[in-house]
Structure formats: structure tokens, C-alpha cells
Symmetry: D2
Subunit: 287 residues, 4 copies
Amino acid sequence: MHHTTATLLVSCRDRTGLVAALSDFVFRHGGNIIDADQHAESGADNGQFFMRLRFDIGGFTLDRAGIAASLGALARKFELNHQISYSDKRQRVVIFVSKTPHCLYDLLLRQQLGELGGDIIAVVSNHRELQTVAGHFGLPFHYIPVGAAGKDEAEQQQLDLLASLDADLVVLARYMQVLSPRFLEQWHSRVINIHHSFLPAFVGAKPYHQAKERGVKIIGATAHYVTPQLDQGPIIEQDVIRVSHRDEVEDLVRKGRDLERQVLSRAVHAHLDRRVLISGTRTIVFT
Amino acid sequence: MHHTTATLLVSCRDRTGLVAALSDFVFRHGGNIIDADQHAESGADNGQFFMRLRFDIGGFTLDRAGIAASLGALARKFELNHQISYSDKRQRVVIFVSKTPHCLYDLLLRQQLGELGGDIIAVVSNHRELQTVAGHFGLPFHYIPVGAAGKDEAEQQQLDLLASLDADLVVLARYMQVLSPRFLEQWHSRVINIHHSFLPAFVGAKPYHQAKERGVKIIGATAHYVTPQLDQGPIIEQDVIRVSHRDEVEDLVRKGRDLERQVLSRAVHAHLDRRVLISGTRTIVFT
Amino acid sequence: MHHTTATLLVSCRDRTGLVAALSDFVFRHGGNIIDADQHAESGADNGQFFMRLRFDIGGFTLDRAGIAASLGALARKFELNHQISYSDKRQRVVIFVSKTPHCLYDLLLRQQLGELGGDIIAVVSNHRELQTVAGHFGLPFHYIPVGAAGKDEAEQQQLDLLASLDADLVVLARYMQVLSPRFLEQWHSRVINIHHSFLPAFVGAKPYHQAKERGVKIIGATAHYVTPQLDQGPIIEQDVIRVSHRDEVEDLVRKGRDLERQVLSRAVHAHLDRRVLISGTRTIVFT
Amino acid sequence: MHHTTATLLVSCRDRTGLVAALSDFVFRHGGNIIDADQHAESGADNGQFFMRLRFDIGGFTLDRAGIAASLGALARKFELNHQISYSDKRQRVVIFVSKTPHCLYDLLLRQQLGELGGDIIAVVSNHRELQTVAGHFGLPFHYIPVGAAGKDEAEQQQLDLLASLDADLVVLARYMQVLSPRFLEQWHSRVINIHHSFLPAFVGAKPYHQAKERGVKIIGATAHYVTPQLDQGPIIEQDVIRVSHRDEVEDLVRKGRDLERQVLSRAVHAHLDRRVLISGTRTIVFT
């Protein structure tokens, strides 16, 4: 009933004929476009062009190698950055956690409900607390402590594990360790974190204490790709909630938890649906 | 600097090749697509296809008659409903009001700030109270009372006025008269109203009293195209605000006013940007 | 560190001296008021007065029988409806579910995180699907099918179970059976339900299909006390989320699930904190 | 019909008997409490206590000098900071603007609609552009340019004008000049500004450009009391709106304008209703 679909993400300098060339490519080979969303930023010559094209390939006349070759030719001609993915090749997700369960439950429940466009395949932690949660949802749990041997060794174990699992995406669901530049270089644009404030306000530790101190009337949470610059990576999703003087820090923490899990899950959902395109220090999220 | 652009709205039964045919049409004649937003509803054969295509026609090789002819041919081939408009042909808007000023001020201020993609050209009212507001913003004010001669005569005057003004859109900015089916037949899909509740809840009169009585925790406002069925027309925009037991009916009215003017202005803004497509009893609003 | 506190909820016809009498009562017996929130509705003689008073009883000079007697005397004098509760007597909550897990997980996770001011003590269901969820959180699961013997017998089993568990509150966390008037008479004001729409819009079944059909731009969820009139009980909490034409019914269902669990949990949270006062067909929720 | 009411705002270190003493004071002298909202922050000995008490003084047995004396005695006894105001002594508001009209229109329209609990009595500007707006609403307009004689002289003219007008509150409705410490010392806690970002994010100039650059998904606005530390004063109200990659800087500016006027007007509304209490670097806003 549901045919296989392909999703093409494109960014480049704006030029005439891009949409025509790409949609013609789909049409000529027997595809049917289900969703197209395209935007050209104003700004004269250096305007950027962003596109997401999802099409049915049930009766496509090219195989995937053929598609790759054809798109490669188009990419050279138009100087495109492009990325193609197929609905029958689901992304494999590994979740990193420490001791806090709310984001983990949220993601695993969504997987169980069939909401996610990818597969969570394992949970990794530097603590044992959440092992039973992974088990309850039928997922392997990998305990990788950051021990005496130090963080480098733990990271190497993580990297080896990710490689052996053939993982595509790492989600830091309240993982309380900073990843090294070496890790992030290998996993560039493929690690999503949840920060418990409305970035760029309250960068760093204890944002709810900062928020209480400053007397803000709204608190937020931010999901972003992780880069070596702490809390500076491209933002994928944000949301906020209203607070008042009646909220003690523990109430802010509780309200924050509600935000964190929703914002993180929405970001993961968008990434797995191939709706996120990174452009420099920011993202384009197609709705 | 800003070139003239054309905006094409299309709805039809989904078929392969639609996007390719339309974007190829633009490309072949020297247009550049600035924004494309397309969606095919799932639902097998009877899935609907909706598209908005905005393109630069600075160097287009067809004139507008030529565009109309070519699109006509495409429309026959693909059984399209389509509508094309040009950024240099701004829609002419007439606002109908009674005595309540908040929506009128909001729209006229936005016009002054250059926010609207059309031109408000006149204010019509069955009362004299808001004449000075129109005057302050430099707009003609037409007083058409619904007098002894009855509503039919007043409506005929309105229709004549709209014709003489070459108007494209009527906005009911808290106009407290029901328009007749005859009026709405002529102005089908071209009259926008603001209803002071979250439709379909609280249809009819005194929605804030109903909301207070029912103890709802949120109130809303709804902008919609007007059809002969009261409060049943296609919804363009809605928004809500949180209320509590501390809000007396007069507070609900005040909060409601804030919603009404924002929701109405956003609906008018979307309509004038040609981002609204009517499909049966509902709308598609491209973002 | 945290002393025992008492929470007093009062509603009555407004009269002078109420706040003074009640706060003086607390003060004279050595209590300290932590939170007081009081509101008198305008409306002349028949204005209603609502109050929530939370006070520290660490050094109170009356025991609970003494408090009950004194409050009884005040209640007679001022014709008060009143209700007192103590922080060391936590309410006992039983959750009713069918097959849908998202609201159940949400409530049980909040219990585990220590967010709730009461104790969930059991899960009751007419299906076996969610037994493992209860087990995972260490809670007894009672399977009470609505079998051939009919609904009356099942309800009697439920009532007997609630009595034997000494339960205070029933939460219908997507329980797909209508409770009988007989049940609701016994559990009047003590059954909370989640309705998957913004009441009073879309009363009844399949609200997301109704919402899609009507083309609304916002969907909602409503938590309310259950009364024999379906979907008409006093509303405790509501929230909404924005939707668009890109959302198929399954997307509305998914977005609705997010709303449902948050709205239900917030309502249960408020009830257990003794912040909800029922006044006729509506509630006062102290913030 | 509406009696005169008094509003008492109190902050102090928490002590037992405060609510009883204050409500007893009201009751003994024949007042009736309409609204009482009180909160004691947790935090042992140094917990802060905040209260707002509004009461009907139609039949009060003390005159205002008597009330002042009695409250003075209570204040000494309990070491209270307190502030009393009367509904028949409305605050006198002067609005400072530069060239941007949207916040000014919003405030003046609310005055015309009778929404505000105080009186806007004049508009002051360093430009002439908005003179006709003041005139349209029947308000005097004072043109005080910041000319060759320098800012000091202009500020002195402003201070003299405010004194001669017997003003209580200054609202900076997009006034593009920084007030000197000397001015703010005299008008401490009585100048409200609107900052066009979600503070503490994007302090300083061009916040919408910063927001676009950073790719945030939500933008905000903040109303705050002005202190000599730029953008650091106690926050009264904040709100946010969702944005996307489709929003160019000019769209952010437009959406920001909508936020700014609402947030500023809500802050002014709260201040004039005596619902704002300043506590150090933050505010308590009673709802």
C-alpha cells in the first residue's frame, strides 16, 4: 500500500532552472512527487537555495546506483550539495543517556507507537540506572563507564560500538558527558543533543537556577546538532513554557523536563524524516 | 531590485508529472522559481494535489496573455483548478466595520507600516463612529446605514460601491450585520470575517459568555471566508489564549480583542500574499 | 525539613470578613500561611468567593479532630463549602486504561520522578495489553474484562476493588468504556478523564477526523471530571497545538497523543495538589 | 456600582502571622477583601514573602491618612516593604517615542477602549513623526529634540515636563535613546521599556539580525523596568513567536512588532493594576 519513497535534500547557490531540472529528473524516470518544499533566500547573487523533494519510486526506471549517478551529474552541473535517502533504508539510532530517564522513555515509547521514521537499536550509558528501561522496551543496553582509564578509552569503545552496530545517528538524551572533538569529527552532523534552556540564553550549567535568578517569565529547551563549540551547534527545534514567581527551581526543573523530551523527540522525528538540512551554523527544517 | 513575481495556486486530483510540467513551464520561459510548496494528500486515486509556485518573471518570454493561454492548456490537460496573480497587480481591499475599532486600527496600521501585500482603499460602515479613524489614515469612509429602506437596499449600495471601487476583497472587521446569500454569491471566497471564538466551539452569539459559563481554560478566535451558512465557512487562521477563573467576561472580551485583531490580520495577510487555497469546506494555507 | 502542611479549599457566597476569619484561625493556632489565593467574583450579592489556603502545621495547637471541629463551626457561621487535606495523607490513585499506553507511561514516569503529590497504587484494565507496563513500574495490574456477564458486573468488580484499595481518585487514561451513572454517583468529582479534543468543539467520537474534515488550524485536548453527561463535566485543563494541511489524520492522532498525556498529567497534578475546586459546571484551578 | 478599592503590595522576610495581621487589619476597619494573592518562597529563614491584597473601602472606618498611619505601624512591626494605592487615584502615564508607531497606537487604542487602569496624559518625542497620532487620540505631544545643546539639556526638559505633568510612570514605546543614570535615579522603578528580544538572549542592538544568523526557531520580546545597566532591569513580561527559515529579517521585524506591542501593553496593564512588585533584580507579577 505504502510505496517506497525517496527523499532528496538539496542546498546550493540559487540559480534558475533548479526546480525544473530536479522535478524533470523525477518525472522522466517515472517517479511521482509527493511533497516538494523549496525556498530561495533573497540576497542577490549569494542567495541560498534549499529544497526537499519526496517522491514515490514504485515504478522508477532507474535503480539506486543509477539514481546516484544521475544526481551526481546534476550536482556537478548545478554545484549542489545533495543527499538522497530511501524510506526502506531506515536510519539506525543509538541513544546515549546517563541517569535521567524522561527523554529516554519518550523516545522509546514513540518507537513502540510507530511514530519514528527510523529504528532505535541500542542504548548506551555511563551508568547502570537505565538498563531496565532499555530492557522493558526490548533494547540492548551497553554500559560504558568513564572509568579510571579515562574518557578517551570510553569514547573509543563507543565509537567501536557505533561502528559495529552500523549506526546512523546518536541522540544525547540527557547524557552528561561532553563529547571530544575527535568523536564529533567522525559523527559530524549526526549527534543531536537536548539543552535545557532557550539558547542562546543561559548557555552552560544550571540554566534553571539562572532563569530563577534572572526572573524570566518563560523558560525553554533547545535541540541542536553537537559541534565542538559547547551549546553553539545548529538549532533544530525549540520550545518554551510560561513560568511565574510561584515556580521554585524544582518546578522549573519539572516543567523543563516536559519541554526537553518534547523538543528532543520532535528534533529526532524531523531528522529521521529527512526534514533537516544543515546550512552553516543553522538549520533549515522543512515542515 | 525586487522583480515582478507571479504566484500560481493549483489544486487538482493528484497525477504524476504535475510538478515537472509546471516547473518546466516556468523554466522554459525564463522564469526563476523563488518559492515552491506542494503537497499531495494520501488517499489513493482521489488524493488531492495542492501547489503554490512563486516565480520571478523579470525576464519571462511570455506576456500575461501568453501565460494565461499556456496555463489554460496545462489546466485542460491535467484538469487543474488554477489561479495566477502578479505582484504588480495588488489586490484592492475594502473594510466593513460597525462601531468597534480594534480590528480596523490593526489593519490600517499594518497598511501604513507596509506589511500588507495589497491596498486597503476604503472603509464602509453602517455607523459613523469610525469615520475619524479612516480619516486619520487618509482613507475614504462610506456611510451606508441599514435604514428604514431595509437591508436589501443597503446591500445594493455596498455592491455598487465595491463595483465602482474595483475591489477584490471585503474584510469584515467586526461588522455586525449578516450578509445575504445574494451578496455572498457575488463575493464568493472574497469575504473574510473574524469570529470571536475558537470555531467550531461556541458558534453564534455571545461566545465569551458561553466560554465563561462552560469554564473553558482557553479562548480563541477564528478568521474564515464567509459562506451563507453562519460560522461554517472555510477557516483561514485561528489562535487561542489562556484564561482563568480570575477573568470576568469583560476580561475575556479584552483578551478576545487581542486575538481577534491578530487572527484577522494574519488571515488577510495570507490571503493577500496568495497563500490561501480553498478546497471544499476547508483551506490550504501555504506557510 | 519539609513540614506537614494543610490545604484548605473554600467556596461560598461572598461575605466580608471571610479572609480575616480564616487567616486568623490559622494564626491563632500557630500555623504559618505558605500560600493564599483568594478570589471574589463580581456580581453583587450572589458573587462567589473561592479560596485556597495552604499552611504549615508543624507547631499547630489543634489536632486534626480539633481542626475539623473548628472549621465546622466556621463553615456553619459563614455557610462555607470547605475541604481540608494534609500533605502527609497522600491521595491514592487508580488508573483505568484500555490498550493505549501513552497516558499511562506519562503518569507512571511522573510518579517515578516524584512529581506527583499523590500515589498511583494500581492499574485497572479491560484488556491485558498494558500489564507489562504496570509491572515495569512495580504496580499491581487488575484485569477486569467487560465480558459476557456484561458491564454491570465488571463495574461492580471495579467498585469493589476501589473500595478494597481505599482509593481516592480514578484517572481514565484513555479508557474506552463509558462509566455508568451508578458508578459516577459514588465517584462524583473523583474521576478524571482525558478527551481528545478542545471541548466543547468536537464532542463525541473521532474528533481528529472531524478536525481534519473541518480544516481547523489548531487541535486540542481537554481533561475534565466525569459526569453522566458525556464530555460535559467540569473542565480542569486544556491545551492546543497548531496543525496544517500537511497533517494527515495519523499526524493529528500523533500530535493529539502529545497533548493528551500532558493535559491529563497536568490535571492530575493539579487535583493531587488540591488546587482544583469544583463550582457547579466549572472548576476553579488555583495556580 | 464599583466601589473604591485599595491595593496593598507587600514584600518582606517571611514570618508567621503576616496574612492574619493584614487581613485582620482590613476586616476590623470594615473593608472587604476582593482579591488576595500571597506567596512565601521556600528557603528557610531568608524566605521572601510577597502579597497583593485588594479590598473594597466603601465603608472603611479609617481615612487614607489613618490607613497610612496604621500600615506604617504594621510595617515597622513586621519589617515590611509596602505600597498602597487607591482605585480613584489613577496613575498618570507619559509615553516616550521616537519614530516607530506600533507600540504607541496599541497603548492609545487600549486607553480609548477603557482597558487601562491609568491615564495616558501625554506623548514625548525626540522626533515630530508621531505628532499626528497623539493628536488623533486627543493627547498633547511634546517635541523635545536631542539637539546641539546635547542630551543633558533634553533630559532636563523631560524631567521638568514630567514634574509639571505630575506623572507617575514613563513608558518607552520604542524610544531610541538611552536614559542617563541621573534620570533613572529619579524615576527608579517607574520607567518601563520594551526590548525586542527574549532577554537574556540577544542583548543589545539588531536582535533580529542576531536571531536570523543564529537560526533560532523562536523569537521573543521583553518588557522590563529600566535600570542603568542596559537590558538588565527586572523583567515584567515576555512572549515569543515561532519563526522559520522562510522568515527573512524583515519578516522577523514584522513578527517582532506584533510581539513588542502586546508584551509592552501587557506589562503596562499589569503595572497600572498594581500587580507588579519589584524584588531585587526580578519582579513578582500577581495574576
